[in-house]
């Protein structure tokens, strides 16, 4: 494959033959990023976004995991400042962590491209909430594209780069679980975009330094740019009109489009590819062209509210369909105005901690000692389910520490003494370190006990590396954050490293002694994840051989 100044990506004969592939949406985004010469992909693992960077790396792109989404976003912003193309990927809740840079980078005039992938999880297949991140595009003023299958995931990634470079703004590529993880047929090389700029730096203080004096005009510039993009979206945006019956018109976007086509093949459809800023005039004309116009969207009533605010008369789905994913059956019900209760699926077998998982021993001990456990996000969240039922809270990444401290500060002493914060190694790096600083800075009277479940990998999302493993995304050796050294350097005196699977009694004695101390303790329960242990040994062996 090569680049041409005029034609962009050119595939040779062999690649042309291989150009048709069955890919997940995540893989298609990665392929587009690779085909368009993205310089760096950054992110933090999170279902359903994780495979994008892994695939990008496999294809030959440069990709790296950051400690969390905020840092990943900031690194990507720096790449875009150089004129190069940057891709940053995360799950929907990750964008909350990265929201701080998001809202301000929207004001900044970029030299290169900045593509932000938000992989939302309607229905919460593997998440703690089902927030609809289309709201972020509106709130931050960031143009947004929503693919509905893998072909569009490929093409919209390329379009996002074009839009980002043309208007010098970041672009949000908003995907959902069924787009990320469904495999559909993709034809590669269907569209050409110009090659990337050569990276270089020029000072441009008013464009990139968001002190109030420069941010005020920058905000006005952003609104002007968004108005231009809205006009373009009305004229030439990636939206599709399917002419059908004049009695029923459906405005839709993303995966909902596919369900609509299945459920109502006869209807006229306006399928929106760019859902911020919206092509309101197209929507208005479409609504006027049909007898009944209804908006079918998954999640929040985002399109409906925007249409109605603009004075476009549209029907909306009943509130009960805000919850969970849509499918063609639910779309049929929406079209029929059916609000009768839906058939409940037969409950399947819930997931459980693997037999022999080291986390099992930790929860056995915490339960036996009657602990109040402020928990966190990872495989170990399964400690809330039977047989353990030993985790009392889960809020967001890293919250175990702050929540545990808050409980210690306010509970009566007899209960406060039983509070333990529990979080995993990757979660600790992601946003537990600041919690640990808080613990040292504002220690509760009863002290506190933090247990880091260090299984040497980001197990929940499929065994990704993180700064605590000392290996990069592609498992090569790199700098390693050593938790016990970090805790000691912050002034925690009681720091212990123990294998919870080796001697249950010893582990229980240690936790008991920490609870009795009325001081700050950090217990690192370290044993490799059963599923990852073999790979970890292999990576270590390869890295040692290379070092020799």
């Amino acid at each position: 494959m090569q680049y041409s100044e005029t034609k962009g990506v050119i595939l040779d004969d062999l690649e042309q033959k291989q150009a048709l592939a069955l890919l997940s949406g995540d893989e298609a985004v990665a392929m587009a990023a690779f085909d368009s010469g993205v310089t760096l992909g950054t992110g933090y693992p999170g279902t359903p976004s994780t495979e994008i960077l892994e695939t990008f790396e496999t294809l030959g792109g440069k990709a790296q995991w950051s400690p969390n989404e905020k840092v990943a976003m900031e690194v990507a912003i720096g790449v875009a400042f150089s004129g190069a193309r940057a891709l940053v990927t995360m799950k929907h809740v990750g964008l909350n962590v990265a929201a701080d840079p998001l809202f301000t980078v929207a004001y900044i005039r970029l030299d290169g491209a900045l593509i932000i992938v938000s992989a939302d999880d309607p229905g919460m297949a593997s998440s703690q909430n089902e927030q609809d991140n289309r709201r972020y595009a509106l709130a931050a003023g960031v143009p947004m594209l929503e693919p509905s299958d893998s072909q569009e995931a490929y093409e919209f990634t390329l379009r996002a780069i074009e839009i980002s470079e043309r208007w010098q703004v970041p672009v949000l590529l908003r995907m959902t679980t069924r787009v990320c993880h469904s495999k559909t047929v993709v034809r590669r090389g269907t569209m050409a975009i110009p090659p990337p700029h050569s990276p270089h730096f020029e000072h441009d203080f008013p464009s990139r330094v968001m002190i109030p004096a420069y941010a005020k005009p920058a905000h006005r510039r952003l609104r002007k740019t968004l108005a231009e993009i809205a006009a373009w979206n009305d004229e030439a945006g990636p939206n599709e009109l399917i002419k059908g019956s004049s009695s029923l018109g459906i405005i839709t976007s993303g995966i909902a489009f596919q369900h609509v086509r299945e459920a109502a093949p006869q209807a006229s459809v306006l399928k929106l590819g760019m859902t911020y800023p919206l092509p309101l005039e197209r929507m208005r004309a479409f609504a006027a062209s049909v007898e009944r116009c209804i908006v079918i969207e998954e999640g929040d009533p985002y399109l409906v509210e925007a249409a109605r605010t603009a004075g476009i008369a549209v029907d909306a789905k009943p509130e009960m369909y805000r919850f969970g994913e849509l499918n063609s059956t639910r779309v049929r019900r929406i079209l029929n105005g059916d609000i009768s209760s839906e058939a409940k699926p037969v409950p399947g077998k819930p997931p459980a901690l693997c037999p022999g998982c080291p986390h099992r021993n930790v929860y056995t001990v915490l339960k036996d000692l009657g602990c109040i456990v402020a928990g966190d996000i990872g495989c170990y969240s399964l400690g809330v389910l039977p047989p353990f039922q030993a985790m009392d809270s889960l809020v967001c990444m890293g919250a175990a520490i702050g929540v545990g401290l808050g409980l210690r500060h306010s509970l009566p002493p007899a209960e406060a003494r039983r509070v333990v914060s529990v979080l995993g190694d990757s979660t600790f790096v992601h946003s537990g370190i600041t919690g640990l600083v808080e613990m040292v800075y504002n220690p509760p009277e009863s002290g506190h006990v933090l247990v880091i479940l260090d299984n040497g990998t980001t197990a929940m999302t499929g065994m990704q590396e993180h700064p605590g493993t000392g290996r990069t995304l592609n498992h090569a050796q790199t700098g390693k954050v050593i938790f016990e050294d970090l805790a000691r350097s912050l002034g925690v005196r009681n720091v212990y490293v123990i294998d919870p699977a080796q001697d249950l009694g010893k582990f229980q004695d240690l936790i008991q002694s920490c609870l009795d101390k009325k001081e700050l303790s950090v217990v690192i329960a370290r044993r490799d994840c059963l599923l990852a242990a073999r790979s970890i040994r292999e990576y270590e062996r390869c890295n040692e051989q290379q070092a020799d």
Partner: protein, 169 residues
């Protein structure tokens, strides 16, 4: 109007090769030049819980999810997952499950997912060579023999079943 796609739901428990089986089936349909969509949920389901995967193929497929009660074939690897997924199957659709296979004849018991694909292959129009090729593309070399054997056993069992049904008719 396009002809309706063929709908297959594959179900089982985490670690049984549900996703691998659906990858192989989707690959066979894709190689035959059909439009294919395949969908499942990742994440929590990996930890031994219920897993199911939808595969749809035909001239044109829209939604990646098999609509409830419209599966032509329900292939279940763990018998206790049959009631969980039964609602997926259409009236007159076929259930394919381990009771149709003599598991003791498999050289590797883990290949039961592929054996059940062998049974399914009897119901579909794809040539056996397409299945063999897809198996080899989707599995590491060292597992080829065991899985090709499992596929043949399933395919033979599928034929026996067909004959039985034929006699009943």
């Amino acid at each position: 109007m396009n002809s309706k796609p063929t709908n297959v739901v594959i179900a089982g428990l985490g670690g049984q090769g549900v996703i691998k089986a659906s990858d192989i089936l989707a690959d066979v349909a894709f190689s035959a030049g059909l439009d294919v969509k395949k969908s499942e949920l990742h994440g929590m389901s990996q930890r031994g819980g219920s897993v199911s995967s939808d595969v749809r193929f035909g001239e044109r497929v829209f939604s990646p999810m098999v609509p409830e009660g419209e599966a032509d074939f329900l292939l279940v690897i763990a018998p206790d997952q049959i009631p969980v997924n039964a609602a997926a199957l259409r009236l007159g659709g076929s259930l394919i499950d381990p009771s149709q296979i003599d598991e003791s004849s498999l050289s590797n018991k883990k290949s039961i997912n592929v054996a059940l694909l062998g049974v399914l292959s009897r119901h579909l129009q794809f040539p056996v060579e397409a299945w063999t090729a897809a198996l080899e593309r989707n599995l590491p070399q060292k597992l080829h023999d065991a899985n090709l054997q499992a596929f043949s056993i399933g395919r033979a069992a599928g034929q026996t079943l067909e004959q039985k049904i034929g006699q009943k008719r």
